[in-house]
């Protein structure tokens, strides 16, 4: 039984780490929804696009090379250089800011005042468009992403826990890095939102964009800024997930992991995204561990079930919704009639 307890502790810790990765994706949704009321369906594709761009810049890949070669009969694929990760990340951030400007200038500026469902539909279109552009720009082969992040079992934790419990815990180095990055990101975002002039303007827009407009806050600037920050968050998520699996088009599906986190944490709270991610991560991992274990569920119920994580995350979120429709940290919904 003691052994099962140690296993459960290991699963719990890994659930926390997985939750951080889910939260990284959910953060991008929260930022845009908070500032503009748009549920950005394209957030997962933004993570994919930013990761593709990062690898493309690092490897010196010529954008749109397939189209160029097919049109002009050339055979160019690479510039022949390799850009260090830090510079490539900087270059990608610039691309994501440009993307934010384009989105604002050519899509959402024309949709101000429209129903939320219209805005949501626009982001669905944006997702498909961005996925297609990413394919044309960088190709659809799976790309290895190596920005120097460590991966694999952390030997120190393995050794220390082995000496303490006689069982070495597995914690992935990449998950530890992701946790540190996520904590720094959240602290940075909270400080930005609370103490900077632009952050306060963003909150003002979130509260009442017409009132914010009347005191001289530029809606255009704030929305471009928010989409840029969401693009940066998408890049961070893309780096973490892309390092695990290679950069490939299924990266866009990570948005599926963010939805239960948002339902649970609330669509408007940055800390909510983190706490929601942690609850979902730990909840789904512990449930899977318990229900797939013949020594636990097998003994208790006489049967075991596996592959529960996908549906359990949504069930958990739905249970929370019954008691708190706005999520754990979401703003209370007040409807005036």
């Amino acid at each position: 039984m003691l052994e099962q307890l140690y296993f459960a502790m290991e699963v719990f810790l890994n659930g926390l780490m997985a939750g951080v990765l889910y939260a990284l994706v959910a953060l991008g949704f929260v930022l845009i929804f908070k500032a503009s009321g748009i549920f950005n369906y394209a957030q997962g594709v933004m993570a994919l696009f930013s990761a593709l761009t990062l690898v493309g810049i690092m490897d010196g890949q010529v954008p749109f090379s397939h189209i160029i070669n097919a049109t002009f009969g050339t055979d160019i694929h690479h510039f022949g250089w390799h850009v260090p990760a830090l510079f490539a990340i900087f270059g990608t951030v610039i691309v994501m800011v440009l993307f934010a400007w384009i989105v604002q200038r050519y899509i959402f500026r024309h949709l101000v005042g429209q129903e939320p469902i219209i805005l949501f539909m626009a982001t669905i279109g944006l997702a498909y468009f961005l996925e297609g552009v990413g394919d044309l720009m960088w190709g659809s082969e799976i790309k290895k992403l190596d920005v120097g992040l460590p991966q694999g079992i952390n030997d120190t934790i393995d050794q220390v826990t082995y000496e303490m419990f006689g069982y070495g815990f597995f914690i992935d180095n990449l998950d530890i890095v992701a946790t540190v990055v996520a904590v720094l990101l959240v602290i940075g975002l909270v400080i930005f939102a609370q103490y900077s002039k632009e952050g306060r303007a963003m909150r003002a827009v979130a509260d009442d964009h017409q009132a914010a407009l009347s005191v001289g806050v530029s809606l255009n600037f704030i929305w471009i800024m928010v989409w840029s920050v969401a693009g940066f968050v998408a890049l961070v998520a893309g780096i973490m997930w892309g390092t695990k699996s290679g950069v490939q088009f299924s990266l866009s599906l990570i948005a599926l992991k963010a939805l239960p986190v948002l339902m649970l944490g609330g669509f408007t709270s940055i800390p909510g995204a983190i706490v929601g991610g942690l609850i979902i991560g730990v909840g789904e991992k512990l449930f899977e561990f318990f229900m797939s274990s013949s020594a636990l569920a097998g003994e208790l119920f006489g049967f075991t079930i596996s592959a529960t994580e996908n549906w359990f995350a949504y069930v958990l979120a739905l249970i929370f919704l019954v008691f708190r429709p706005q999520g754990l940290f979401g703003e209370k919904i007040i409807e005036r009639v």
Binding site: D135, Q151, G152, D172, S245, F249, S292, A307
Partner: protein
Amino acid sequence: MKMKLPAMALSALMIASPVMADLVFPSLSYRTGPYAAGGIPFADGYADYFTMLNARDGGIGGVEARVLECETGYNTEKGVECYESTKGEGALVYQPLSTGITYQLIPKATADGIAIHSMGYGRTSAANGKVFSNVFNYPANYWNGASGAINYLMSQGDISGKKVALVYHNSAYGKEPIRTLEELSAKHGYDLTLIPVDHPGQEQKSQWLQIRREKPDYVIMYGWGVMNQVAVQEAANIRFNMENFIGIWWSGSENDVLPAGEKANGYKALTFHGVGDDFPVFDDIKEHVVDAGNAAGAGDQIGTVLYNRGLYAAMLAAEAVKTAQEIHGVADINAAQMRDGMEALEITEDKMAALGLPGFGPSFKVSCENHGGPGLVGMTQWDAAAKEWTLISDFSPSDMDLIQPLIDEDSMAYAAENKIEPSC
């Protein structure tokens, strides 16, 4: 003006009419979406082989081959739409390239009299030609793969009392080998653990923590798409011995191992065809297709696992056309004649050598009763330093004594359910 009208009408009719003298091979490809990295090389290989036959030989038996590509995005509904929109073009054989699409097309294609070739995927029991008259899955199916993996492990040492874990995509495809592995477990005395991974498989921490706890001696994987890359990476993370990690052929392409880098070295995968580009046919592909600027893609996929699989599928289709042309004495065959050609197909070593593919695949003969071939499978291994797969075994027989009764049982159940009278 009056005199010109009939001529104009005739011209318009000629332009509007489909070109009759060609052999149509629909390609239900997926060059977009989450699985594009796997779909593109297969589609390229499939198209390039027919392009080469047209350029080098003037087609097949003097009739040009026409590849009709339709994008499915690996989506079952779109796959069915593609079938409906292309079948009227004179389609000879469909490669659905998805188990889900295959299941949907089996009754439709059978009713339409068009053949399906689900090579290494789809409904395994379709190997019973007495029930599935229009479906072929030669030269190997999922159950041959499961048996091939166990046979390989037994060739490395006694498997009795060992622990084998099956990590599988939690779908109809991934569940295919379970019954076979359970039967083999009873026969050979190994302990089988089933570990499902939900679609798409980007998060597998629970599964690999379980593997770390239970310490299986061997892991067999039936995965697809991102599930493969994450599994190889997670196996490396927990320092699972890659020598003891075997993937089915859909988990054994360059895509699956390159993201993990050096850590993927030694990973193994089953196969039913050759690897690499050291075959004479590739010289012809380069000369007549790539250098001529007629490659389906950028020409950079030649020799990759999935390109070779697409090329192999095209080669088998072309050989079936030749067989049909011989049987019926016509060059411009129809779908029913193509089906006959597939049912009488015989692939020999001499034939493969003459095609510029010596030793590329197993020798086999299709019959009315057996649409699945003999189920010969080989093993490949990844060399991370050289970034290439190597065939490390011959194409060896799987346990047909065990598999055939399973095929019969499942196919007869299908026949009873669909009121099909088995016949040959």
